[in-house]
């Protein structure tokens, strides 16, 4: 019941007095209630659980994660750690 992947908001509409939207999850579109993310705009990504959008994906923070991981690779290279050669348990 927990859909862990973010979906992209395609359109917004009203149903029985609730703000709803159609959301694209990697190609399959489903309907979700948007009442808990009133600020969401079309084209933004959101996390949906049991038919309710709960959070809007923060693109800045997503980029920060990648920057931090790039940093990790650069640092390892600078320190001369040849990561690829580390022992792997079998």
């Amino acid at each position: 019941m927990c859909l862990a992947i973010p979906g992209k908001l395609l359109e917004v509409f009203e149903e029985n007095g609730l703000k709803m939207g159609n959301i694209d999850f990697a190609g399959s579109v489903s309907k979700a209630c948007l009442e808990y993310v009133p600020e969401i705009e079309i084209g933004q990504y959101t996390i949906v659980h049991a038919g309710f959008a709960l959070s809007v994906l923060n693109e800045e923070e997503a980029k920060n994660s990648f920057d931090a991981w790039d940093d990790l690779i650069d640092r390892a290279n600078a320190e001369g750690i040849e990561m690829d050669k580390l022992e792997r348990p079998d």
Binding site: L18, G27, Y36, A50, G51, L54, A62, I73, I81
Partner: protein, 364 residues
Amino acid sequence: MKYLDEFRDPVVAKKILDEIHVVTTQPWVIMEICGGQTHSIIRNGIDQVLPKEIELVHGPGCPVCVTPLEIIDRAIEIAGRPDVIFTSFGDMLRVPGSHKDLFMVRSEGGDVRTVFSPLESLKIARENPDKEVVFFAVGFETTAPGNAMAIAQAAKEGLTNFSELVSHVLVPPAMEALLSSPSNRVQGYLAAGHVCTVMGWDEYDPIAKKYEVPIVITGFEPMDVLDGILHTVKQLEAGTYKVENRYARIVEQGGNQAAQALIKDVFEIANRKWRGIGEIPASGFKIRKKYASYDAELKFSVGDIRTEEPEACISGVILQGLKKPHDCPAFGKECTPQNPLGATMVSSEGACAAYYKYQRILDK
């Protein structure tokens, strides 16, 4: 798919894994709370490529797994009534009760329907005014906003033929119960990202301090899980125990305030029994008095139900991180996803089902 494939990049994942190998100097036991993360770890074989010093134990964060047997039996009794349309998330239909599951109720003529959202259940109630429509409201903090909204909406519309059978559990009290148990082995937690989406993470600070365990909030993609493990190990090695949010693209410190407000309006904190674990004080939600007419337990007096767990099943100790699925003698023999003896074999978020699906039968 944007914001998905980037978090599954094998090159970056390997770099994070390499860094874990660099920083690990001694044995550590880390628990991932969330069943979705358990599934990701087993599916991606993350547990098999970590340094051998690091043991991942699988937590109780699978709603299907921890819903107590009594509640399943109550659901089965209500669903069997001729005037009832019983609606539920699909996973719950196969959870074994004492004598049968909801699928059997359906094959015996009960009107049991699968829905993806409690709002679908409301729709069924609008369309069937002569029937009682009951929604099986299970889950953690992630499903509570929707289940609260369905009740609030039913009240707003004046629907009188809708109710919820509620079995809501909360993650932080369970984390605390595990840490305070004398048999606890957990030294660090990966906190469930989407639970924090709703509730934020202020509740975790006192737990991290009191039990001196690092708590790292993370997501479900392989890179998220690896990154969460890396930052937990870094803290363990340094002897620190802070709450760290490594899932900031989705989780904000305060959580979703609108969701919290409606949850608080509809539900109040209650003691809850967890299947396999037992009662944990203040570990769940029940419906508030002002919404009592939407409480299926009150609407259908289901009376005293005597429950019987199958003797062979050790899912309770698995949910506490004390044993692994392949320690169970029934695993993969009497107990399979086609014929589950315990709830942890039903949902894909259950540790037994994940181990079975990804063939961890022979790994010891």
